[in-house]
Each structure stands twice: as structure tokens, then as C-alpha cells.
Symmetry: C2
Subunit: 342 residues, 2 copies
Amino acid sequence: MARAAGSDVDHARRGSIDAVLASRHAGTRKLRLNYELVGPADAPVVFVAGGISAHRHVAANALDAGNGWAEGLVAAGRALDPSCTRILAFDYVGACGGIDAPIDTADQADAVALLLDALGIDRLEAFVGYSYGALVGLQLATRHPQRLRKLVAVSGAHRPHPYASAWRALQRKAVALGQLQCADEQGLSLARQFAMLSYRTPEEFGERFDAAPTLSNGHVRVAAEDYLDAAGAKFVARIPATAWLRLSESIDLHAVDPAQVAVPTLVIAVEGDRLVPLSDAVSLVEGLGLNGRLRVLRSQYGHDAFLKETDRIDAMLAAELRPRPASEPIPNFSTDSIGVSV
Amino acid sequence: MARAAGSDVDHARRGSIDAVLASRHAGTRKLRLNYELVGPADAPVVFVAGGISAHRHVAANALDAGNGWAEGLVAAGRALDPSCTRILAFDYVGACGGIDAPIDTADQADAVALLLDALGIDRLEAFVGYSYGALVGLQLATRHPQRLRKLVAVSGAHRPHPYASAWRALQRKAVALGQLQCADEQGLSLARQFAMLSYRTPEEFGERFDAAPTLSNGHVRVAAEDYLDAAGAKFVARIPATAWLRLSESIDLHAVDPAQVAVPTLVIAVEGDRLVPLSDAVSLVEGLGLNGRLRVLRSQYGHDAFLKETDRIDAMLAAELRPRPASEPIPNFSTDSIGVSV
């Protein structure tokens, strides 16, 4: 059940729907789902979903000229061009911090389906998910396969890797340690800083922060600390602690059986991703069988490559999403065709 | 200046010396250096040094039957056999938590020299250092090259890698967050848990903790958390926060010019070490020139391989430390001879 409300300006629509979601771990809940939908009304719709701190504003548009989180991927001339594709995105369930209960990636996928119902969209041309968005896309393709023609899952797999889960669990403990003593912001900032180490790579740090430490107030301060402090402060100003905690947990609750994914799926993995090892992307694609294909990107940006290697990601999306004449065969979706981009 | 005191039982000596150390960042200090020296009085002396939480008790002996931190490496039949080698080890400067000021690896090396003075040991047959011990060994071979015939530096390099420094800086912030309001132990425990992720590898976690998370008090608990909690609790019970903070900082202050290392040095690096990347070990060996040789170990235990792959480390030590007849040529110490053990 969903009811749509919003405003339209020059092919940009920003609105919200009220929906009732039967959540997996937290009972049936009334939710407000906030979305943006940008592009010509008759164009095919592509849903774009990002990391746990992403939101509905993917790129500047007629209603909101501010930069979005996927500015380099959704733009004129890109594979995701809002002049010929309708780009749909939403705020994740729990992103407002209003749900202090376990949230599942399956809940997010059900919320996407409710949003499509409310907007009268039968079927997406594609769902393009990065990081957490890839997990949600895999759930959507499992639970609601009729709602999308194809899935592009970037830097996400069918399961959390146990090492990455441990890393996130310790970040959550940093928040809990801060909350013990009303130092909530410091706890969340520290969690974010630890997360940054998992999003990036030693190679990048080696290039950016190759400087001797300093002594400050009798303590050692290393070269990356200014950068990390700034990343923490920026995050704390933007994300409620409860939202972050519950969405972080949600990654660790994620579980999809690749054999149940019933939609052609392109998996884009980054060699050197410290959260989603290439071996898990390969397992996913093996499990997808004829529905799966893998492309591997080498990047010193690791898990965050989708935010930094926008030209190369765009080239992969362009090859995947461009309309094909009926006479052209669909590329062979098998694990034999593994492309590596260097 | 140093004065020795101690007790001797059946080739095992445990004692302490009072020394005056001109420290690099914290002025001239009176120190008590605690050591153990085990083995026949006429045997060649090998100094063994471990990570920042290691200590003078490397292995069970006549004075202390409890297990040491290097039990698998120092034992009858091993390359480090206390029946035919004198094994010397000490507690690092600052390990008692009594120095709340920056400590340098150069200070540790100077303390080793003072200890050798007090014990009347002119020259070590070898200094075998693991992790932090490797950094101290490199300083010793730079500052006091006449005190050792050879150096074996395992899982340590001439500089801290900027990514590893960032990781340690965040661990120190976890301690600071705990200290904000007298939750010192929780802060130090969290720091240790984050450190464990840097000491081990995703491969090991993937094998050990491949289980679904549970929900506990409405929160997600992942499979590795019991292990990590236990590791944190064990550490907190053993190590004063100040000791850990200052020795952690000490790693980030470490800087040695490989060209100044004036002693034949075997560098043993672990592929997959998340703190000391192989590329830094290679740089070190390149800088060592004719004094340097590299052996590479592949291990799923990463930085902690020296504690886990004791058979393989011992085999490398045996090849390095066994007495050679005068007629046998010394192996070619050059970067051309890079051995990889798989």
C-alpha cells in the first residue's frame, strides 16, 4: 500500500510516498519513502542506489541544483543520462534515523517495489546498485524479479565477508563506546574514520600521506589524521548515529542465494576492494549461472572506486545499458566471459 | 651507565639493570631494564625481540616454567635452542607504563646496547626481531653495528607504512575516547580488537568466522565478535594503556635509513601482511644493498605469521644462523637472491 505525493519541475520530480512495509526483523511499519525521479516521462526508468550514506539526490537537477552523490555517473553524455533515461533514487529505509531496530536488505528491496507501485512503474529498465545498493539490487532481483530487466551490482555480493563484518562490528562498538558517555559524535566520527580505511587502500594512503609524523601536545600525530578527522566530522554532521548503526548492521544481515537471482546481472568487482573480496564476487557470479557476468576493475580506490573511477564505471554501464536492436544477440551471460579492465 | 642484578638457575638468568638512557624525545631518564638470559655461559648470544606487547620471557625455562611468547621458536631442536645458544630478551622501554612520553625505536636500540654493556656481552651472534623487534633490530644495526654479527628482521621495515600508521592512530583514538570518561579498559579493548584485524587476514577470518550473525538484545552480533571480545579482554588484563599508547606511537616515529644499516641482514616478509606491505620489505632490502637479503613467506596469518608459522620461520632461521665452516662461502647477500617460501 502506498500513496504518492510530490512536485514536478522540468522533468524533475521530488516527492514522498507513505507505505506500509512488512519488515523482516521489526514487524509491520508505516514508512515515508522519499524519492527523486528525473528524466522524460516516456523514457525507460533506471533505479540508482548507493552506499548506506547515499540518498535520493544522485545528481543536480531542476529542483535541486546541489551536487548529488553520483554526480560523475548521472549526467549528460553518460550512460545514465537524465535527458534520455529516467533516473529514480530513494532514501534508504532507516536513513532518517527513525527506525531503531534491525533493518534488512530484503526490507529495502520491498520498499523499492512499494515505491514502484506508487509511481506506476511496472518494470525498471535496470537497477544499478553500488556497494549497499548492490545488495539491495540482488534482493530486488530475488524477491521481485518481474520489476527489473537487468541488474548491475557494483562492489557488492550475496553475503558480507566475515572479515568485513568484523570490521563493521568494531565500528559499531566505537559508536557504543561514545554513547556510553554522551560523546556520541566522537564515537560516530571514529567509526567513520575506521570505515574510511576499509573503503580505501594502502596504495592510496601510501601516495597521499607519505610524510613523517609530528609531535603535538606530547603525542604522535600521523600524516593521515587531518584527512580522517575531516571525514569523521563531515559524516557526523550529516548522518544520525541510529541510521548509520542500523544500516551498518543491515549489511551484516544481508544474505542472498545467487541461484535465486532471476534477472540477468552484471557484477562489477574491484580488485583490491577490502570489503568485498574478488573471491566473493566470483562466487556470486558462479552462483548466478547463466544470469551472471563479471567485470573486474583494478583501482587503487578499492571499495570506493565507484565514486572515483567514474569514467571507467560509465564505460561499463554504457556497454551494458545501451539499447540493442532486436537483431543483435544478447551478450553471453556466463561465467566464461570474465572481463578485466585495467 | 648500567648496573646488573639478577638470579641464576641452571643456565637461566632473570634480572634487571639500572641504566641511564638519553632518550630521543623525552630527555635523559633513569630506567630499569628487565631481562632474561637462558643458555650455557659459553654459547653465542642471540637477542630475541617481539611485538610491542612481547616481553623478556620468550620461552619456558628453569626459572619460569610458564609459556613464553615465542614458545614455538625458542626450544630444544629449534634454530634458537637454549641448550646450545644463549637467548637474551628484555622488556621494552616503556612496557611497564611508567613513561608517558614519546618513545623511539632508537631508544630501544640504545637500551639494548646498555643491557649488553651491563651483561658484559660485546657482540651478539645475531639479533632476531619480529614486528616491533625488527624495527629495534634495524636501529641497533644502524646505531651500534659492532654489537651484532647479523640481523634477522621479520615482519618489520625501515618505515611505518602510511596506511598502517593511520590504522594505529585510530586505535589510539579509541583509547582516548575511552579515557574521556573513565572507560579506559573499553577503549583499550576496542583498540586491541581493531589491531587484531591488522595482525590477521581476511582469508583467516573467512575460514574461522563463516557463520550467520545473530540478533542479541535487538542488535546484530557477527561471528567474529566473541573472538575479538576475548582478545580485547585478555590484552586489557595484561598491558597498561600508557604502555600500549607509547609503544604504538613508537612504531609511527620509527625511521631508519637502510643505507646506514651496517650489518648483514635477512629480511623475512609475509605476503599479505596488512601492516608491512611486501613493497616496503623490498624497498628495505634494496636500500640495504650488499647487506640485504629477502625471504618471502606466504601465510594466511599475515603480520602474525611469526607467531603461527613457527616451523617455517624456524627453517629460515636454521639456514641463517647455523655455524658455517670457514671454508664455506657466505651466501650472496644481494637483492638478486630473493627466496619465496610457499
